[in-house]
Symmetry: D2
Subunit: 311 residues, 4 copies
């Protein structure tokens, strides 16, 4: 990859995630204003990869990413990165905690520092921004043009972006949940699938044929009979009407694992559509516990046994 986009501006957690990839060393990193913009540029060939957030341990799935991957020109997840989310409260030099009447950050960031705000900044107004980094950047440069409605004196952001833009850090590690992490994915255009490592994940989106009772159970059974564990299952509206959902699913295993291939074919048969989003190494490198009935030798033996029956 020569050019890799990310959810910008510079200093976002997306950039941190991108910098953690070996691919970033030899590629130019290009910020985009939204997930849609980054994935759109990827689809059009302006960039070769894109790093976007897909799931947060506090806020859950990132709708913009899930929905953009679920429709339109197919894309493929080729890697995942799990980044600890630590926030600082940043301000222009000389600002004291008592001076802060309003704080800007991304709504997800705001949701993760509620306790700190309640204790240390009770009464502070919230000014939403498109990213945590944007709040910091705007604070650093826009100081003298504030207007009443959107003026703010503090930004909740990553430490790196605060330092890069000359802001002062009034409080560190202010997240309510110290273990909070965000999961990012590196997305590419369809091509060869990353080779199995033994510790892989596969992502798919499942569109049901009919919205009938028990429909979801029918899908889950396709995984269960092959002993496949799901690490994420989210329903997302298809946009047609209330109650019409598709399911965004991460499962343990690689498309080249026999049990995963068979499950995906089974889902292909019973679903209106199965959208394959990719098989890729897990960030934690942990191999799934696959029961002896579902591992490769079990599949190979079953196939050999079947061939034997045919004489």
């Amino acid at each position: 990859m020569e050019r890799i986009g990310y959810l910008g501006p510079a200093g976002t957690f997306s950039e941190v995630a991108l910098r953690s990839r070996p691919e970033s060393r030899s590629a130019s990193a290009e910020p985009y204003g939204s997930v849609d913009a980054a994935l759109g540029a990827l689809r059009e060939g302006q960039i070769d990869g894109a790093v976007v957030p897909i799931e947060n341990s506090i806020e859950g799935g990132v709708p913009a990413t899930l929905d953009s991957l679920a429709v339109g020109e197919p894309l493929r997840v080729v890697g995942e990165m799990v980044i600890p989310v630590t926030f600082v409260l940043a301000a222009r030099p000389g600002t004291a905690l008592g001076d802060i009447e309003a704080v800007s950050t991304h709504p997800h960031g705001w949701a993760q520092v509620r306790r700190f705000v309640a204790q240390r900044l009770p009464g502070a107004r919230f000014i939403p921004s498109t990213s945590t980094a944007a709040a910091a950047v705007d604070l650093a440069r826009g100081a003298d043009t504030w207007h009443a409605a959107t003026a703010y004196q503090g930004a909740v952001c990553h430490e790196m972006v605060a330092r890069d833009h000359g802001l002062e850090i009034l409080a560190s590690d202010i997240g309510d949940n110290k273990a909070a992490v965000t999961r990012f994915v590196l997305v590419a255009r369809p091509g060869s699938i990353p080779a199995p490592t033994g510790a892989d994940k596969t992502s798919v989106v499942l569109f049901q044929k009919l919205d009938h009772p028990g429909g979801l159970m029918g899908l889950l059974e396709q995984f269960a009979v092959r002993g496949i564990n799901l690490t994420r299952l989210e329903s997302r509206p298809t946009g047609e009407s209330l109650g019409q959902y598709c399911f965004s699913v991460d499962l343990e295993g690689h498309l080249h694992d026999a049990r995963v291939a068979e499950a995906l074919m089974g889902l292909h048969r019973v679903c209106a559509e199965v959208r394959f989003l990719g098989s890729y190494p897990t960030a934690n490198g942990r191999s799934p516990a696959v029961g002896p009935a579902h591992d490769r030798p079990a599949y190979d033996e079953a196939q050999a046994w079947l061939r034997g029956l045919n004489g």
Copy 2:
């Protein structure tokens, strides 16, 4: 097949079933005294096929057949025949209904004429025989050597055997259930599987890995996710201890159907043993209703789709 055995003696419903097969025209028909004897002779190569009863609409599965097929040297079911079971009450010429104090027949036959006996022969004793035909044959020839304990004056048997041995028919069609049928199978040694006809059945015996709660559900799910309908499911003790069962199963479809092959491989993976008893045309010629998610095109499309994902 040059020589085909059947559960004898001559005149049993098994012989009727054998005579209904085209194979019987050019083969010699050889009676055996028990299912075990017939299948044993088949295993040892003394005969090329054997016709034995496997299921009765009144009495259920025939344990001797189910158990003999489930263990030992493998055999294959290559055809099934469903024969209406009609009984007559036969006696030596000159016997009146009022003369009959005891009646002999196979216990299954006795169970199927209870109502007739209760109404017309109240108080008659039951003398079990090894087959309905044996009761008739013994009655015809053994008359003058009866002893107190086993003497009988009437036999419940098939009309054909009564006539063949010079017995008189005192009452016809005396079965409690006029729709009663028995299902027979033509068994052979393993070899090529009969080609799919579109209206086929497959028989297997499933031995569970562990006797854990929900174990049977786990097996049934393997069928359910592939849309396979079962026409018979019977538990049979494995003989090890009370509560240790295997399952004898008939299902709609042929080993060469993709959904059946996949289900059998799935069962092979989760079972201690899957014993394949054969795929063969159904007696009634009815094709199963296979949902669009489970037919051959669905399987082919799923496979093509999967190949496409790999680029």
Copy 3:
């Protein structure tokens, strides 16, 4: 109970089972010629209880008992007895092993001594009897009136009946499976249910509403969601046509256990008919392992919680 019937004649395993019950001490024991006869007498009030075999570790369910309990005037199982099945080969005094050309016993008994017969009595003919005891009794008294077809020189029976009738024991413990047992039930007319002991079993017969694919799974789910373990499940034909089955089921627990009561009500709703055959102490006295989600406190807490919601 003043009068208790059993599957006779005297000396059967049924009598052994009856003698093992405390109820037998103060009651008269009355032999019946068949399971149907014993249960019929019970239904008509001629006796107060009946002991009949219901399941054998080698042969499986006893159809006559299962079917007689499943239809007609309701009866209730109030106890179970598990009796080791040990067989002897008995003959009239003076008979040597080499003199034996034919052997009589109940077909179930015959099935359990196959290996002994194959090794020590190859070529011996089988003469079926209505019970193992009847074979011994007839052998003891009927000696001088044998006729060609049913003459036999050996009987396979319980040691007790052989001794009682003056037969000699040519070989002991001749069963193929030394661990073979038969399970008997003590049956009564409906009345009060035996109090829960903590180690109880419940027996029911389930008739499905429709013979639809997945029908059995729907029934099993009713047990599974309440954490109920099944110890026996047998399909029995309803007699209407091939493939129409009801299910005879034993489960761990007592009707007065909340999880069992709820499961039975659930089955009553989804089945065409649920026939309750009784709750009674298990023969082995072992309490079932009930998960914390399904025991009495869990049910009580759930009910209290629900009441709280309304309050």
Copy 4:
């Protein structure tokens, strides 16, 4: 209810939803700056009810509402309202389409007018606001104090708020999906549950005991065996770590329906926690299709049958 809060400011779809309720006629309507603030005020007794968005046919569940209901002091949903979501592009009088370089609205609103923006305002920057109404209000009053970073000339909002604040409507009905609706709930403190109407919904949050494979299936089975249809199922992170989810569920039926009560008790037994969010009339007034095995008479008959068994 004397005082009912809503997600403000005045002019939001939440206010439209509140105005559609009969309760609003005799109550004062009080805007709150966030869902958290409104539900917090309700919990503290400052208001008697609150109207907040819970689900959007395009964007899916509203995390702030789902999460606030799922934890903390219990609240109860007592009603739902489904409101068509129609957007206008509003601007200060005299502004032409060509003058618009940046547009502000709530991120959900922005997501729903992508196609309009792409066609008519390509290149327009997005300035997020806390609600669609806030974007309009700020545009109307904050005009002369804009600074570079947050200045905008257009707002995407409901027609009503644009008119109320003297803005001009440059384009109407600009949503990508003309059938888009948002579902709002009226929330109260726990008290008496609205009486069943025959067309009711129940909302719960399910916390699993263990994150084991098949865990979700175990929960869905509790609904399936009672024939209960789900209209919404969303996983939400519990915040502990990636992959730890609870499930927010809407189901057809009322707590006072026997099948719902039994299902909730079943879930209470198998879950770590079941949070009951309320039973309330559905907005569309449609009664669910309840199978004959799961309706009130079926439950009553099952209970009567069980009582009968006990003699």
